[in-house]
Amino acid sequence: MRVVEKRQLLSAEEIGRTLSRLAHEIVEKSGGAKDLALIGVRRRGVPLSERLAKQIRGFAHADVPVGTLDITLYRDDLSTIGQQPVVQSTQIDFPVDNRELVIVDDVLYTGRTIRAAMNGLFDLGRPRRIQLCVLIDRGHRELPVEASFIGRSVQTSDTEIVEVRLQEIDGEERVVLVDRVP
């Protein structure tokens, strides 16, 4: 089984512009930066949420808190796999009650990750509202989950994979569509 790159979806420059647009949309639709907090879903949602917070600090001059959420313990497929995945830390240093939360992740696909993220957030308190921001929406939802802030929507097939590569984690900056070939 090998992985073959089909085409590039976003270049480094396009990622930057997309994030800037998303940051503005978030502040607009959340009624300003007050009570706003970003929750980055591990792994790649984390640098994305940090970059969004930095953008918001830049144009709105507001310090929006950022938390990181590991959803491993909330996954719905743990009992179907053999070796259990390694659990990472969740670090949310601010109270969640009554907050305007925006979950940030790189790709929205079946929606199960976001359901798990919401379960995790409800263990911590009762937010006023939860919205979702993703860089790529690739369709194929298996649960009724929707994103309010979408970088780009892409049509994909089941064998394809959307790979978001970020400097902080992958050492390069682009989004590509790859295929799994036998």
């Binding site: 313990l73 497929d77 796999i81 053999g82 259990q84 659990v87 830390s89 969740t90 670090q91």
Partner: protein, 323 residues
Amino acid sequence: MLQRLSHLLGTETLSSEQIAFILDQAKPFQEFQRHPLKKLATLRGKTVALAFFESSTRTRISFSTAAARLGADTMALQAESSSLKKGESLIDTVRTLEAMRPDGIVIRHASSGAPEFVARRLEIPVINAGDGTHEHPTQALLDALTIRDRKGKLEGWNVTILGDILHSRVARSNIHLLSKFGVRITLCGPAMWVPRELEKLAANVRVVHRIDEALDGADVVMVLRVQTERIHEPALAPDEYIAGYQLTPARLRLARPDALVLHPGPIVRGLEIDSAVADGPQSGVLEQVTNGLAIRMALLYHLIGGAAADAPHPAKDRSNASD
């Protein structure tokens, strides 16, 4: 990726990588204890059998809470009410439990080797919660986590273990674990409870019988419970023990100024340890308890979670699952 553990029977057979992995995996569960809602669905639908053939309150409650917070159900067997008293053999008791299809079994037993005996005969994971005077691995793991958190690392310290080492499974598990991390271990207590042969148990172990010698330069002092009444042996008068080996504030000053004091519990104040030390700033006793919960949750998650051993590895079509 760590070789999947099928059982946790002792620290002697764990590698330092496996131990480090368990300590790392306990961290998210430490953090979890601070959530307002301490209930996951991670092990929902799983059943953990708690077979405590020797009475124990703290360890049993710790495992039972760990399982419950992970969303698992428990089935509990307690020595007092057990059919073992009616002459049922260990095998039959365990097979009866197995017939109710638990996903794992936590066992505490008065005979050294009993968890291994059970593990050889069952298909499900076995976790040793203390067997005879042999091992108590989850205690050593939570002690190691406490040391690592309080002192920044686990490696290279001088650790003194005080008390009846000969009859202590906690001591043995700690000795095996700590010596894998380059810790220099000093064992100290009355000579009939700390025979020199114990130096052969692992690398870097020395036996001394005078407490001042044992505490000099110690970074960590582990105080063990003491049973002054013994079967088959002459008893030791409590006052004798206190005079020679109680950890008092004055004696603690012989150790390093920032020395950490640990005790597996339950503490008998005024016997092996002075109240002032047990409650003092150097004591890590309460953190040990919280860490015990985190360690046991991490172990239950990894050993009992998941499908049967031959199920596929993650990433079937989870191509965009958060990794």
